[in-house]
Symmetry: C3
Subunit: 182 residues, 3 copies
């Protein structure tokens, strides 16, 4: 079952769901609209390789906005800290954002029960597009789980701002020893 | 819970779910295959900016089909009017369509309980690809909600054909006054 | 309801869910991490047309990996055979993969109850990116259905390796006679 907006609101009040900062006017019929944080990271050396730590540069979105260019990946993050130990989250672009030609994730819409932090977004635009910090860019949904819960305890826990991939740690450790490997 | 195809069929008959026109042979094990409408819209001035109304041009897909080009966003719509006051919808490309290199939404797969209308699709192709009006292009799924329902009452309600973004209205009104802001 | 990782593990043991090969360490809080198979297919004649069989070339990913290039679609597959006659699947890229600029499906994240086979992935990268066979690339989720079940019996059943689109069969048969048309 997907939580309705009124149910999300009630679970935020009982702290079963964390959304901070939280504004009731950002509640939708079955999701919550989150905002874009101020920092962006871009990779600056190619080809990218999952086996190594790929270097990044940081950009702060200025007050007047920042124009994203096609054919580039921009790692951004939500302004909000979000998560739950009781419900599983997924997220999507607002349709108003997608209608401008912008992806906010790359076929990667799933979160984990127990992750609490800012969420890294993958911005990818088809046409040049101006974005603004604090704009309502995406929607988080919450789903009731079936079964016993083992909480997320992975490498991105408690993230602050956009996080580049840490997949190279999988290869360092050897895949067979990794328990939670999001 | 996700509704099975047989359950979608039964809810269409009781009018708890609206799909119009509706054909039983488009029912899948846990979704319904919808069709591509005849009209396409493309933006014609860049960079796009969420704060202003971005102008568009209209294209009607001819009988012999229309070749989509890479690196462009095409706004299209479903042929069907679809929605429900009881179940939450999400939608996806048919895998047969994605295997041709075509996206039908840009990380924006969520609808709202209470929206009833044609659905705007965001078409984006990797390679030149011919499309046809009326082709079965995507799949809608329906999810049982948990909690009290406040129906969608937003700016795209009852849409007819593809709708460009109306996100500039958020900025006009000031974000803090917007209640439903999909 | 979405199955938790512990519930996926229990359903794999009762064979209500098939994941083969299966490794407990690839279980996440509410999904299972699957691996990339060794074969890739690419189309080699354009524009693509859903009404005809579009020809492909095969690539085997060598031991040292293979560098995907932007602006191309690569059809790949999971290493695992996966499916269920009892739960509906969806799948996503691992966030660690998406943070490298790689899509693993093109807005097509839904599977069908009753499909059992390897899953075709649509790989699309923003920047040149090295990939490795056997790398944990995506996540499958399982959802409890509501309603009577009619199992998938479509044209991709039991797939082995990446499968190009078979949508041209829709046009041959005439759309109105197709019952299951994923």
């Amino acid at each position: 079952m997907i939580l309705t907006g009124l149910d999300i609101d009630s679970k935020v009040k009982t702290k079963e769901i964390i959304i901070s900062p939280y504004h009731e006017e950002q509640v939708n019929p079955n999701s919550y609209n989150f905002r874009l944080g101020a920092m962006i990271k871009v990779y600056n050396s190619f080809p990218l390789d999952p086996k190594v730590m790929n270097s990044v540069e940081e950009i702060i979105i200025p007050e007047e906005g920042y124009v994203l260019q096609p054919n580039r990946l921009y790692l951004a993050s939500t302004e909000e800290v979000m998560g739950s130990n009781f419900y599983a989250p997924t997220f999507a672009a607002r349709s108003s954002i997608a209608r401008l030609g912008l992806f906010i994730n790359l076929s990667a819409d799933l979160g984990d029960i127990g992750y609490i932090g800012q969420w890294t977004l993958q911005l990818f635009t088809i046409h040049p597009l101006r974005i603004y910090r604090g704009m309502r860019i995406g929607q988080i949904m919450w789903w009731k789980p079936q079964g016993d819960i083992k909480l997320y305890n992975g490498k991105y826990q408690g993230s602050n701002g956009p996080q580049q991939t840490q997949i190279y740690k999988d290869f360092e450790k050897g895949a067979s020893k990794v328990v939670f490997n999001i």
